[in-house]
Amino acid sequence: MSDSHLQSPFDVEAVRRDFPILQKLLPKGLSVTYLDSGSSAQKPQCVIDKEAEVYENYYANAYRGVYRFGALVDEQLEGTREKVRQLVGAKQTDEVIFTSGSTMSLNVVAFGWGRRHLQPGDEILLNEMEHHANFVPWQQAAEQTGAVCRFIPLTDDGRLDLSRLDEVLTTKTKLLAVTGMSNVLGTINPVKELAARAHAVGAIIVVDGAQSVPHMTTDVVEDDIDFLAFSAHKLYGPSGVGVLYGKHELLDATDPLLFGGHMIDRVYRDHSTWAAPPAKFEAGTGQIAQAIALGAAIDYVSNIGFEAMHEHDRRLAEYAHQRLNELPDMRIYGPHLEHKGAIVSFTIDGAHPEDLAQLLDRRGVFVRHGHHCTMPLHDLLGVSATVRASFGVYSSLADVDALFDALQFALGRLRLA
């Protein structure tokens, strides 16, 4: 099948056995080739068990009851908060806020921080590879504050053109929002360098870690990141829960977006005061069992190790490029392998991505097609849609072969081969 240098640094077959959904057979005995982890990752048994454990053994609302279930829930939630702190390398647990996901996290920054600090004429620095969740909130914040969005130019191969950063990063820039890893191109952005350059002009940096946090080591202190957003569900954890990391002093200077229970310090008839972070940003009953189970997901990936996972991704991407380029009229978008993670977006001349995705599904190969919530990027690429294969810790070289075979089948059906 493949060269030995492409073999994963860990036992992928053993990892696959941890994911019950990957053991299921589709009709006609087809096995599942799940290549949409960039959209949402599958869950290992330990995460599924952890969520059930909460409901079966000690479920209660969080931060309310002194009774023993309530106390256990609080303890477990705070245990997860500590695991997240370690995962991202934060100094303090009160810098870790549970949200509903990356989108919510980024909206908290755009409106909680942005509306308070952005002035007319201030500049927000974006780029065209951002996911809409790290793009549209800034457009909106700009509209509401009179700030202006500017864009770091991209190179032809889909990287940030840092040689032109000075053209757009100036003392007018108040905030630089950037993805750690492009959800389409797979481009890994140099966040540490960007943070230093942003700070040098007095701007803050907001990193969308939805794709990068599950796939590589994150260190907000080492990289000097001001805000970081990510989602549990792409990290093999439950859906509906995510994280906003913010530097303590910045969270203090950020307004809450949601008002209600738990985020309150004192409510008077005519005004209210807020609790300190993280409670200030955790109004209402959150995703209790899900947030607790995020802790199990962090344990799971930490046990495999981020260095090993990153290496695994690198090898998968290399093999995917190698195999896909065997197909005629294949166009893979994004930079050279050394600059990207395990996301491969492509088009094939004459084959509509929607047809390809539907035909791949018939072979049990699950990929995403469309604009992947990056319309400005697709405008730049000059295509309305791409097919995206995105890999996870359980993805194997055999999955790449299955993708290749299914694409050959699809091209045959579309009378292109």
């Binding site: 509509h352 929607e354 047809d355 539907q358 035909l359 469309g370 849609a385 059906r413 579309l414 009378r415």
Partner: protein, 144 residues
């Protein structure tokens, strides 16, 4: 073959088809045989929005007695073209009043294609149905 296809012929064809794989292959055949819209008709006003693929749709009133509508639509995705063939077989050569009485979801369910026609799916077929109905309403209003 798609040109003169009637919905009854489609019912017969689909009855002989097995699972989704066979239905899908048949839709691909229908898609390849779908009458082509001329390029000059593939313009923004004819575009059906809400689709992941591009879909253009035009309607023409035929001077039959009573007058009937004919729909021609194209997508850049082949399977969607197959589904368009089903929709045009269903709606074309009917009076506007009759078109407005058709329940396409029932027809799609009978053909085993229900998962391809729902408000939640963004392959645009539902938007196409909305456009067909809108054109039928306009035609009915103009002729009355």
């Amino acid at each position: 073959m798609a040109d003169d296809l009637t919905i009854d012929e489609l019912y017969e064809e689909f009855e002989d088809l097995g699972d989704w794989d066979e239905r899908c292959d048949y839709l691909i055949d229908l898609g390849f045989n779908l009458p082509q819209l001329p390029d000059e008709a593939k313009i923004d006003p004819n575009m059906v929005h809400g689709c992941q693929s591009n879909v253009w749709l035009v309607a023409e009133m035929k001077p039959t007695e009573p007058p009937t509508l004919e729909f021609i639509a194209n997508s850049d995705a082949i399977i969607v073209n197959g589904l368009i063939a089903v929709l045009t077989a269903l709606f074309s050569h009917q009076t506007p009043e009759r078109i407005l009485m058709i329940e396409p979801q029932e027809v799609f369910a009978r053909l085993g294609l229900e998962r391809h026609l729902s408000p939640q799916r963004r392959n645009g077929l539902y938007s196409m149905v909305d456009r067909v109905r809108q054109l039928a309403v306009e035609a009915a209003t103009n002729s009355s």
